[in-house]
Subunit: 528 residues, 2 copies
Amino acid sequence: MPRKWISVLLLLQLSCHFSPGSCGKVLVWPTEYSHWINMKTILDALVQRGHEVTVLTSSASILVDPNKPSAIQFEIYPTSLTKDDFEDLFTRIISKWTYMPKYAFFTYFSLMQDIIWEYNDCIQTLCKEVVLNKKLMTKLQESRFDVVLADAAGPCGELLAELLKVPFVYSLRFSVGYTIERYSGGLPFPPSYVPVILSELSDHMTFMERVKNMIYVLYFDFWFQTFTEKWDQLCSKALGRPTTLFELMGKADIWLIRTYWDFEFPRPLLPNFVFVGGLHCKPAKPLPKEMEEFAQSSGENGIVVFSLGSMVTNMTEERANVIASALAQLPQKVIWRYDGKKPDTLGPNTRLYKWIPQNDLLGHPKTKAFITHGGTNGIYEAISHGIPMVGLPLFADQPDNIAHMKTKGAAVRLDYNTISSADLLNALKTVISDPSYKENAMKLSRIHHDQPVKPLDQAVFWIEFVMRHKGAKHLRPASHDLSWFQYHSLDVIGFLLACVATATFVITKCVLFCCRKLFKTGKKNKRE
Amino acid sequence: MPRKWISVLLLLQLSCHFSPGSCGKVLVWPTEYSHWINMKTILDALVQRGHEVTVLTSSASILVDPNKPSAIQFEIYPTSLTKDDFEDLFTRIISKWTYMPKYAFFTYFSLMQDIIWEYNDCIQTLCKEVVLNKKLMTKLQESRFDVVLADAAGPCGELLAELLKVPFVYSLRFSVGYTIERYSGGLPFPPSYVPVILSELSDHMTFMERVKNMIYVLYFDFWFQTFTEKWDQLCSKALGRPTTLFELMGKADIWLIRTYWDFEFPRPLLPNFVFVGGLHCKPAKPLPKEMEEFAQSSGENGIVVFSLGSMVTNMTEERANVIASALAQLPQKVIWRYDGKKPDTLGPNTRLYKWIPQNDLLGHPKTKAFITHGGTNGIYEAISHGIPMVGLPLFADQPDNIAHMKTKGAAVRLDYNTISSADLLNALKTVISDPSYKENAMKLSRIHHDQPVKPLDQAVFWIEFVMRHKGAKHLRPASHDLSWFQYHSLDVIGFLLACVATATFVITKCVLFCCRKLFKTGKKNKRE
């Protein structure tokens, strides 16, 4: 049989068309930037398996570009926002978050709260423009989707699923303080060994670190109470009955968490939480010719790859010069993704690119280290190829991501706002010359690649499972039906304590009564 | 290429010989009866993949029969116990446990405790005869095993692994009150929605059921403190340093739990707990000719399969007659695994067999129902083939197993000691004629078969993973390094409360002081 036919047969076997009636219709509620890059990998895989994928996207969307050729369908809804509004919002958020005073707890978090409120208002505007758009909703109803795949970082997917009466699957890296995972997913996070996200702690904490972690948990718990109010109103209005965002989110059939145990500290999970970190990672492809020649020209010293991710391609002139002067002193060649003014201190060993094939570079045999902002996608590419890192975290989960890699011995962390050239140079020399960093990065790589099911297959499997079985209710813990005091058994503990107190009281009274009786009888006898 | 060669190539690809250096040596510490049946499936798979498997078994072992032809190697150590002692022990245990007064909580559990102590003493004798046998231990040391696979129901595997300095994997259905999973594995079991084993509760509990569950948890917690004392002494003696059984058990790299979410109620897990329930299930093979003819003679009514498992093949004459008379009234044909005196009330529709091919019978298209004692292996065969059940649980986890199936709508539960013929007849009629039982059993079957990795492949993968990586420490939660009050954050809560109290005290004092000052100044001013 010709090889071409064998490939076609293999593809057919992988496709849902192979088992009749198992091809489904997926409605997607995406989020922008790196979230979309990650989710698109799942959507491409679903399309390749024969499913029909429709992405619900606004006319203001940035990265979700319906004009790029793709087998994914885009349902574009009109919005009062413009693309510029949207881009401005993100630029403002990044800039605020990056330069926030991280040392002052309450100032930092109240600023962060403002940022999240602003983002949240924007997402809510978009959500309103979908769920209150009768024509669009009728069209979606008539499309008879089998599942909604939603990024939990921007609510609305759960409301759409409820309105369309279809099960839904979340894709999620984290929510602030793990509040959504805890309050909606029912996931336990014992604060004694599970550092809450944004705390930058490890799983082995000193007493004072555990105190800090507990304060963070209490703060986020309080914060969460104020977060959902507006959403609760919108959900109730759209559904025509009183409900809460928290309640709707808790109906998720599967939570695809975009990490794995190569990255996370071991912690409790639930059967409907599936860890799919690094699902976008692929073997490296050959580099463009000019880049390959540059890499090869590094000789035995190899190359260093530097990128601050898809959201930050620029920086202040002062920071750029500090960094460039450190890079200039390296014996390695440096490939830097940068879209700003060429720094004056740029060395001849450093080349600037507006865009780099990051995964292919990290998988290149010459690559010795990766200077990263610590986005989850980039970190996973480094883990996948076993490359040690120097972290310059900026915002969101990035400081925590780098803290994880540092704890696992595969990264050195620096402060982007305050580093000097010497700091960066020393950090790079350390991760390149101290073999433990490479060994630990390779260990993470081996863990990443040695899973019973590849992360992307895992994600596709569970989305298809939800379509096949119209949900995954058998994985839903009964804790969803308990109030918080029932969940923590406070009513039971109170009842048992009351029983013990009553029993002690009754026994004491009886003993006292008997003693008194005996005493009186004794006295009487004596008198007689 | 001839088909024979293709098969050989496929087998080679599955074998560890395909990747040089990845074939390992596995030392096994087994437990008897159904535990061994389950574990042997894993061992056969490991042998088939090219690993060298050595089972450490005593000369008194019952089911571990080294004379049966097998590629598994058996290392038989001498013991002061005889096979008869061993068989007597199990007969005594079963008989005591089956007829225990289940209604009286403390009597029931104190009798159960006696039984477990007796079993425990026996296992400890065997363990001593291994770890204090210098010749045997030297031989095992020299064999350079890569992993120990141990059934956690009978301790010693963890001690052997520690002495041989190799990682180890547990196979476990449950420990009494989930104490080992909780105290050694660090697995959280919130008593508000996770019914403790032996409580026979479901995950949706009323207030009084939650009170009952909490009392069970407290009872088992107390019970566990007294359980390990003797083992702690043996472990410390064998290792020449003070240690505890609990500490050694907690070093398990992977816990292979012999259930899955088709059977369990959803509850928290940890990354090193892998659920492999029903790994022994296979498609049904054709029945022996005589049995097939009998099954076919049932016509449209079909057949009922009845077995009380590998440990109970007999019963009292009175019970046998009650059961036989119920079965005689069925329109179905009945295949009954029974080794006692033929009951007088046996109907012509019922045939007795000393042994039955249970899995093949449950997978037979004529099978309508399964009367079972509720052993996990049998229940999984019924789940696998989607057969509704009538449960006559006898001891150990059997009442809980049936309670799970009852909650999931796939079984009716009866009390073996007290049922009448009418009870059994009605129960059978219900599970056969009410379509919901078949539907629910089929639903469980679909869940069972629709997993990203088959349970047996999952078990083999993780044993091989531990061999490849010399452990799985990246999955071990940091909770193992915390004391119980640290784990529950009691020190942190205490500290924070003390801080709040101190702050309140200081502020109150300051306010009072200021008030007094102001009051005094006011008086002075007035006087002036």
